[in-house]
Amino acid sequence: MFELLGVPPQALFGQVLLGLINGSFYAILSLGLAVIFGLLNIINFTHGAQYMMGAFVAWMCLNYLGLNYWAALLLAPIIVGATGIAVERLLLKRIAHLDHLYGLLLTFGLALIIQGLFRNQYGSSGLPYAIPPQLAGGKNLGFMFLPNYRAWVIVASLVVCLSTWFLIEKTRLGAYLRAATENPTLTQAFGINVPLLVTLTYGFGVALAAFAGVLAAPIYSVNPNMGGDLIIVVFAVVVIGGMGSIMGAIVTGFSLGLVEGLTKVFYPEGAATVIFVIMVLVLLVKPAGLFGRPA
């Protein structure tokens, strides 16, 4: 039988597809980070905790309010996004004029506090959350069994990523945003409410994280550490793509998911480190990242 590097091609297709599915989580999360960094110049270390909050809000919706997955998919980003807006107004705004480092420390501390509070309340081993009945089961594609839910994850994240890209790069609102990024003072002089724009952008970035959290709830264990484990990888993705680059975050997210997926086949022990090896290589060759512009 024909084999590619010792692996049957059918198995390889399956692994490529799985890599893309994991890449969709990286893409949505790094997109949120890129949007926030692009406009606020804040390295949002709370992102992982906000992703975790998304998953927990989905769980709470189901167990306290009896609301199903689809309602949670809509509600969780709104609720967690609203907490993000509160964080921006109450905390981040006060340090906006200071160095990056202050924002990083503040958001990092916040992430630890949020994780600690959830751990205290819900323990560390996680909570059960079932796949919605409409998406249970799967299809046999010949080369692999594709669960319907995973197919949904990839579709949903592609739609969200591309609409975000379209919103920022192709619409009038996006043009205001980009203008405010380039030169906030001048943009404000044209009568655009920059502080409001900043707040809403942060809220939107956080909502993206929560959306990814709800997507993740049925397939990964819903536990307080779920974001902390993921966020470091996502930061590497953002750095490789280029800080602040929207398309860079999306493309890098999917392709690194792919690379990681293939590593799991050929050298599983290295799957946790391959992204960081790539990060080092990219930084050596292109310090601004693959899609970033040198500052």
Binding site: G123, S125, P128, E269
Partner: protein
């Protein structure tokens, strides 16, 4: 004159009495485990509560033994665990370290305990090397080990016709030991190991590895992992239709808290091996009721029960040895039979292995469960001498052959 005589007499009496006062032994016990990561629910604060209950039940204060309990988070990292263990032994006057889940950390702490000549009673870690080639005279391995897990779950699966295996192995000391011990049981029973994949620890997405396991066409997929890794593997195996496709999952180390987190819908039918379950008899139920009141309603895991039982036996040994000298206490622990309501009667072997029965459980269907924490039905009892590695096969230098 009379007054002087009286004073001298009382002074003399005080001097005479002081040896009796010196009999007061003060012991400092450190509970070292995961307090924030994936093993925090199965060990964590619950183990500290269990240790305190042991001190209370032993009535240590009435017997002239003063016990202080401290605790710390080793974050599942051998370097962090080693630093804390050294500081506890060197500066804080800690006499024994309890619990220590995560095999890589346990092996490091056991080594330091030997260097400093203190006592380590391990409840949380799994590797059978603690009483095998890495054994020492200062370490006692209490609750379970990879050998017993392999005998229990591995043996039962092969007996039920699962004679070809593929392993998903957490890539560190524990996973390697569990895979090795289980593969030995499988091959000895005439089965075959078709392959294994080493998964980075801790992991989130196991679908890629599960697909490799699926492609191997092995009848049984052995999960040589624990905690969050096991939860994610079982959850995702369901998603990818692995069990529906006829392959069986063997959770080689599954704790009560993992089943609680998975929910019975996802976990039903899983066969697993443990040495303690709260709903076994009157004694375990009564103790577990007290425990769960102190632990926010959560039922104890076997790890937490093991910390209680180990602490209790240590105190008995200190009382019998009238000293907290490590060599004397460990000798007493090995000499005295163990007995408590949680594990019943047992003993501590020369290699430091605590001997008690292990149980094979099956996770109940949602319809069979009366509510939260009512999860297991007992399938079989493995007598201690079959569950644990016989001394004749031991690589431990303490065992004279």
């Amino acid at each position: 004159m009379k007054l002087k005589m009286f004073l001298a007499a009382s002074a003399l009496a005080a001097v005479m009495a002081s040896p009796a006062l010196a009999q007061q032994i003060s012991v400092k016990a450190g509970v070292l485990n995961d307090r924030s990561g994936l093993y925090a629910d199965l060990s964590g604060e619950g183990s500290v509560i269990a240790a305190r209950m042991a001190v209370e039940d032993f009535k240590a204060a009435d017997k002239g033994i003063k016990v202080e309990i401290v605790s710390a988070d080793h974050q599942n990292k051998p370097d962090v665990g080693s630093t804390i263990a050294r500081q506890w032994y060197d500066q804080d006057g800690v006499d024994l370290i309890l619990d220590v889940p995560t095999s890589s950390v346990a092996l490091a702490v056991s080594q330091i305990t030997k260097e400093k000549n203190k006592v380590h009673i391990n409840s949380g870690a799994a590797t059978s090397d603690l009483t095998g080639k890495a054994c020492n005279a200062n370490t006692i391995h209490w609750t379970y080990d990879t050998y017993a897990l392999a005998q229990g779950t591995g043996g039962a699966m092969v007996k039920a016709g699962g004679d070809t295996w593929f392993f998903l192995t957490a890539d560190y000391a524990f996973g390697h030991a569990l895979e090795r011990d289980t593969a030995a049981v499988v091959t000895k029973a005439g089965g075959k190991v078709l392959g294994a994949v080493r998964t980075p620890f801790p992991g989130t997405d196991f679908s890629s590895f599960l697909l490799q396991a699926q492609a191997s066409k092995a009848k049984v997929i052995g999960l040589a992992n624990a905690g969050g890794d096991t939860i994610n593997s079982i959850k995702q195996a369901g998603e990818f239709g692995i069990v529906a496709g006829g392959q069986k999952l063997a959770g080689l180390l599954v704790f009560l808290t993992d089943v609680h987190s998975l929910g019975l819908q996802a976990a039903q039918g899983l066969v697993l091996t443990e040495s303690f379950y709260w709903d076994t008899n009157e004694g375990t139920r009564a103790w577990s009721d007290r425990f769960s009141k102190l632990n926010g309603g959560k039922r104890p895991t076997m790890v937490q029960a093991g910390v209680y039982s180990g602490m209790l036996h240590y105190l008995k040994a200190v009382e019998a040895a009238k000293s907290k000298d490590a060599a004397a206490v460990v000798a007493k622990m090995k000499e005295l039979p163990t007995d408590d309501p949680l594990f019943g009667k047992g003993s501590v072997r020369a290699d430091g292995r605590k001997m008690h029965d292990m149980y094979l459980f099956e996770v109940k269907k949602p319809s069979e469960s009366k509510g939260p924490w009512d999860y297991y039905k007992q399938v079989a009892v493995l007598p201690a001498d079959q569950a644990f590695r016989p001394l004749s096969e031991s690589e431990c230098p303490l065992v004279k052959k």
